[in-house]
């Protein structure tokens, strides 16, 4: 059986002069929606657990991570940040100055 298409025909309007920003707006709004999807499941999960006699939210607030768990979360955070911000790393390597004409500019650019 055929299904309704998900997308409208034709071009989408472009609002920003810089190419790519319209697409990023879509990404940001979709991500925000998915944050709410996760948040709501979490919220309902705590309520359902509460009905079963488990006070999840109190448990979450008072939980103390042990050393191993803290390390695991630290690794997760670092990897998340690196993954999200990686596009800034590629173009602006540590040894490359951002502006032309600075002393030493480009010396180590290849090494980066």
């Amino acid at each position: 059986m055929s299904q309704l298409p998900m997308h409208h025909r034709g071009k989408q309007p472009r609002f920003f002069a810089t190419e790519g920003i319209d697409e990023i707006m879509t990404m940001v709004l979709e991500l925000t929606s998915e944050i709410y999807v996760i948040k709501k499941r979490q919220y309902v999960l705590e309520k359902v657990a509460g009905e079963q006699g488990i006070n999840l939210s109190e448990g979450i607030e008072s939980y103390e991570l042990n050393e191993q768990e803290a390390k695991e979360l630290e690794t997760f955070r670092s990897e998340l940040i690196a993954r999200v911000l990686r596009s800034t790393e590629g173009q602006f390597a540590p040894t490359q100055r951002l502006t032309d004409g600075d002393a030493g500019a480009g010396q180590n650019a290849e090494a980066a």
């Binding site: 059986m1 309704l4 998900m6």
Partner: protein
């Protein structure tokens, strides 16, 4: 803010689908309310003064405001958010509609077959879908309004109702019928001497705003026409589910298959701005022809640009440029009195109304406000919790 549809065609979203629908409804509210107000503020405090400094005058009309706002970053954010919210509203409901497609079509057929409620549906394969509907996905609707994906398909109607349920974030009330409710209550209370026996709703889609006419004028025969078969299949099933006797007919309003002088009231809502000007003129001539002497042509729409200030015109014309509704501005640039006069109506019988939302307004307050004329301010036609629906009408001369 997301209501469960009040009838047997309702589809139950799963938890994540429901979350996406709730999110988009809130995003729509944020855009239309907070962001719109911020953009207005920015126009008044920054954009207009800068224009005045350069040009030595205020922007003269909506076009000039649009031109200068195009380069403003906040307009870009507002527009991108509003456009994306529109798309996301469709994306939030289509998966569940597709999942229940077979079941919805089967339920719709069973409802249409019910004999304990009046009303009917009549489809006609000879009715051509106008290019204004078939060539673009109007209102960014995937498949446009006339789409059919299978035999005996009601999915276009299901998409329309479920989309509006998210898009309108309860502005139109839980039954999404406030426009029809407000306009039928206007006629009933401001013109109590008028007792229409035959009411025709043109461009009805699924009949959201048709049903209040049947409910508020139970003695009248109510007919609703549209070119889109899927909408009519769904609409007639929905009307039966809600106990409202309406005859849904596949018909093009530019060629109404009814005799001259046979209808007491011709109504439409959010219809004219979907039509090319030439089709608006044809429709109005047809309305004039089928109306009995003394009958009423009444339409809910957006106000003419000639009545709005430059910023309000620009704001209300957004859909023309970014929502695949290309006929919006050409219609709103018209002189509505000239349009009805060209169709044969008497200009002197033309009137305008601004109605508060009947669903949310105490009855006496509604009637008092309905009797006043329009004021054309920031709430006229602007989709928000303060909205006043704009409409215009004309009585056909008693001696035609």
């Amino acid at each position: 803010m997301i209501n469960k549809l009040p009838h047997d065609l309702a589809i139950a979203p799963d938890c994540d689908e429901r979350s996406r629908q709730e999110f988009v409804a809130s995003l729509r509210h944020h855009t239309i309310d907070g962001m719109a107000a911020h953009m207005r503020n920015r126009y008044d405090k920054v954009v207009k003064p800068e224009f005045e400094k350069v040009e030595g005058r205020e922007p003269a009309n909506g076009e000039e405001v649009h031109d200068v706002m195009l380069g403003d970053t906040y307009f870009q954010f507002y527009s991108a958010t509003r456009y994306n919210a529109q798309q996301m509203a469709h994306h939030a409901v289509i998966p569940m509609i597709n999942r229940e497609l077979e079941s919805t079509n089967s339920t719709a057929q069973s409802l249409r077959d019910k004999e304990d409620v009046g009303g009917s549906v009549q489809l006609n394969k000879d009715v051509e879908i106008p290019r204004s509907v078939s060539s673009i996905d109007v209102h960014l609707t995937p498949g446009s309004y006339h789409g059919e994906v299978t035999e005996n398909d009601s999915s276009a109607g299901s998409l329309y109702e479920n989309f509006i349920n998210v898009f309108a974030f309860n502005i139109m009330g839980p039954d999404m019928n406030d426009i029809g409710q407000s306009f039928s209550q206007f006629v009933k209370n401001v013109h109590p001497e008028f007792k229409p026996e035959k009411i025709l709703d043109c461009g009805c889609t699924i009949g959201l705003n048709t049903l209040p006419w049947a409910q508020n004028f139970p003695e009248a025969e109510v007919t609703a026409i549209d070119v889109a078969p899927g909408m009519l299949r769904y609409g007639s099933a929905r009307a039966k589910a809600l106990g409202a006797p309406v005859n849904f007919v596949q018909m093009d309003a530019t060629s109404i298959d009814l005799p001259d002088n046979s209808v007491d009231l011709v109504f439409s809502s959010m219809f004219l701005h979907e039509l090319p000007l030439k089709d608006i003129r044809k429709y109005m001539k047809e309305a004039f022809r089928v109306l009995k002497p003394g009958g009423l042509f009444l339409t809910m729409e957006l106000p003419s640009n000639s009545k709005m200030g430059p910023y309000e015109s620009f704001y209300l014309d957004w859909d023309c440029f970014y929502n695949k509704e290309p006929y919006y501005k050409p219609f709103r640039d018209q002189d509505y009195t000239q349009l009805i006069s060209d169709a044969g109506f008497n200009k002197d019988s033309f009137f305008e109304v601004e109605l508060p939302r009947y669903t949310f307004t105490p009855h006496e307050e509604f009637v008092a406000r309905a009797k006043q004329g329009p004021v054309f301010d920031n709430s006229t036609g602007r989709f928000s919790e303060d909205i006043r629906w704009y409409g215009f009408g004309v009585w056909k001369d008693a001696e035609a």
